[in-house]
Amino acid sequence: MTVQADAARRRIEDLLRQHEEQILARWVQIAKAPSGELLDIYRALRSALDQGKGDLADVRGLLAELSRTRARAGHAPADTARAVFGLKEALYEVVEADGEAEALRGFIWFSRLIDDLGLLTFEIFSDAREKIILDQAEQLLELSTPVVKLWEGIVAVPLIGTLDSARTQVVMEKLLQTLVDTGAEHAVIDITGVPAVDTQVAQHLLKTVVAARLMGAECVISGIRPQIAHTIVTLGIEFGDIVTKASLADALAHAFRRSGVQVIRSHNARIAVRAEDA
């Protein structure tokens, strides 16, 4: 740092110390924030500057806390950043009154410092958001992959939502583990809730079926809607010798047939007849 810049910087530090009351009051007015928080930040900033080499860890910590609480309270990140930038305006009034070239030069340095801190609040805000999104994605993954037992030896996986590699992995692992746990020999993968099937999704489905087959279970894919059948044929995807059915009921009937279960309608079943027809 040159002597000149050093002097400019010291001048700003002096101003911050001498006019603390005035700057702080003006800052609170501009930022429209509770004075307690801003006072803490101001004190931390000043003590960081007083110590010399600009160790801003404390200030960053306070700002992170401020950004987080404000984000949780529903403030836009721009508001928080603007509140921090308000300090420049508050200080500028003092600098202008001071009128020295050194103070003006120092103001540029100070302004850069505040810019960095303002951007920091933005970063923290987006980090917090990112974390929320990640948590939710994880929860969604856990929620959306149940394996249900349809009959002794028959399990079904109703898939809902878009299939990607991560989800297929979870579905595959869960299905295979269920096969081991229950000893089921038939599995139905129902894709009624899958909005679109492309080559990648088909690839994932095929892998799951082959893996189940390796373990000694048969897989049926059901719930193929007309548009999806059309897409699959247009894309030229080959399902080979994998059994596919239009509805879950058809797949269940197929599994019954393969496992030798017969469903017979009972003769003395009650038939719903309205009183006036009887």
């Binding site: 595959m172 096969l179 082959v210 893996a211 390796l214 000694g216």
Partner: protein, 121 residues
């Protein structure tokens, strides 16, 4: 080198793999098994890999080779007890073990062999 024992149960040979397979033991197993199938006139071979936790392409190919070999000697091969992780690994390796029959456990493997032979008769 550890050898994998081949057990005879009626006209079925049972191979239960309980050790970490080395390439040498795999080759020895293939020879032993072919010899035993010929010697006993077995009609079915069950390979139990319940205890196998790690597979590579070599072991995947071994299963396919044994199955082909046994079919030439007129014996059906069933691989039983494959773990989910193993199945996923084999699929990712691109090995679908085309000609190999599979079953969830030994009991179901025996039932499958009975069923297949019943159909042949």
């Amino acid at each position: 080198m550890q050898r994998v024992p081949v057990l005879k149960l009626g006209d079925i040979l049972i191979v239960s793999i309980q050790i970490d397979l080395e390439d040498q033991s795999v080759l020895a197993l293939q020879e032993d098994l072919a010899d035993r199938v010929v010697a006993t006139g077995a009609r079915g071979v069950i390979i139990d890999i319940t205890a196998v936790e790690i597979v590579d392409s070599f072991i995947g190919r071994m299963l396919a080779t044994i199955a082909t070999m046994c079919r030439m000697l007129d014996a059906q091969t069933v691989v039983v007890g494959m773990r989910p992780a193993v199945a996923i690994t084999l699929v990712e390796l691109g090995l679908s073990l085309g000609g190999v029959r599979t079953a969830l456990n030994l009991e179901k493997g025996v039932a499958l062999l009975d069923h297949v032979r019943g159909a042949d008769r």
